[in-house]
């Protein structure tokens, strides 16, 4: 079993209804499903972030402003992922993907989903460290790294999908 097959299978597992861009009339629908899944995961992370912010405000923790900035970053990413379809051209207008293009797209998708999950976990970790200034500082830095990382992959995936 090839590497690609296992990626598709993994994606099909986490995204109900995903076709792996195999049916040309469903390519856009598949794209929407992937982004929906990623955005939903980020939305969970945002909700968790808001909880962290509340707890932080209650105990006047030193990272309040930093956490709020991360929240805003997260929100911006979420809406970028969710509403990306506007003006999509390029690959998604193609009748069919070439095999290596398809593999690359699938890899980006898998990476986005993986990173969104990591972000969610990182936010949970952060929320657990509100009362611990030292660990909280680290958690803030870790989350920031993850967000930067995600933004990079998202950017690449978007310009790939736009045919650049």
């Amino acid at each position: 079993m090839g590497k690609e097959t296992s990626i598709v299978e993994k994606l099909e597992l986490v995204i109900p209804g995903f076709h792996g861009y195999k049916k040309k009339e469903l390519i856009r629908e598949d794209d929407r499903l992937v982004r929906g899944k990623v955005a939903d995961t980020l939305a969970l992370a945002r909700r968790e972030m808001e909880r962290a912010l509340q707890r932080c405000a209650m105990v006047s923790c030193a990272q309040l402003v930093a956490i709020d900035n991360l929240r805003k970053k997260l929100m911006a990413l979420e809406s970028r992922v969710r509403h990306a379809e506007a003006g999509y051209r390029g690959y998604f207008d193609r009748v069919k993907f070439k095999e290596e293009e398809l593999n690359r797209l699938l890899e980006y998708d898998a990476k986005m989903i993986e990173l969104a999950e990591e972000i969610l976990n990182e936010v949970k970790a952060l929320n657990g460290q509100i009362a611990n200034p030292q660990a909280l500082g680290m958690a803030v830095l870790n989350l920031d790294d993850k967000l930067v990382n995600f933004e990079e992959v998202l950017g690449k995936r978007m310009s790939f999908a736009a045919g650049e």
């Binding site: 808001e50 912010l53 509340q54 932080c56 405000a57 105990v59 006047s60 923790c61 030193a62 990272q63 309040l64 402003v65 709020d68 805003k72 929100m75 200034p133």
Partner: protein, 328 residues
Amino acid sequence: MAQVIEWVNPGEDEIIWRYPNEVIKWGAQLIVHEYEVAVFMRDGKIYDVLGPGRHTLTTQNLPLLYRLVGGSNSPFKATVIFVSMKQFQGRYGGETQTRELAPVKYYGVYWFKVADPVLFITEVVGGQSLYDTADVTKFIRAYFNEGMMKHLSAYSIVDLFQNLDMVSTQVKVKLMEDFRRLGLELVDVKIEGVNTTDEWRQRLFWIMQTGNAQAVMQMDTAKQVAAELGKSEGAAIGTGMVVMPQLLQQPAQPAQPAQPYAGGGVPPAGYQQPAQQAGQEICPYCGKPIPAGARFCPYCGHEIKRCPNGHVVPEGAKFCPVCGAKIE
């Protein structure tokens, strides 16, 4: 021709729109644009909710209403309310009092959007009987302002002027919770300015100069503070005074560079905080740091009065708080 229910060309600031015709026919075309939701109500109660798309109204997609009208296929009565899920910006401004009852004016911008249309319609539109965007917007602004006032009043004037970033973030978090109760998401809040009366600005100036909030607060007026502080070396404001005598002994020296408050949270009232950093002067009118030697505050435009040795002095001071020199 089939009935078409559509919110045509909603304006930038429109949050809701009520379809004017309350008689709906089965088979009517409902067009819900991206970033919109259509909510079906009757007698103030919400029945069915439809998201973006082009819907033909059938017994299947309006099951609750269908059941309500007793399964008949004749036209039925319902209020259709469209809710925009876009982000909106609002401006606010108001007055409140700090913990020590200093009057404070504030203003700024906030951004919000509908997060839960059903809760929003229940709490705001139906709950307050506001079916028009202007009324809804007014209600939200008043609600925001009320929360702002309440939350800001928990802080001291020093917090507000010295730790505004922290205070505004804390207040924002509390307001987020308030907004969630209305089905709204408060995306962000910016406090663009806070201000107080001349009297309180001068008091603030003295608090920041001396680091002794309590002593300054015990004086009735800022003028009294200025007079007391200038009376004689080390006399002034009682045992709590640490910084002043030391400064008085070093004429012509700029105020001692002091550790800025290092903790993260908003410090408790009355904490000792000599506010000046090395080479940094503070405007006695708005509390913001000004360039050394400035003749006017770049933030509030006030003229900066100085003693013969060049130190900033607040209005009404008879003596310089730094070197003790007499002010003409």
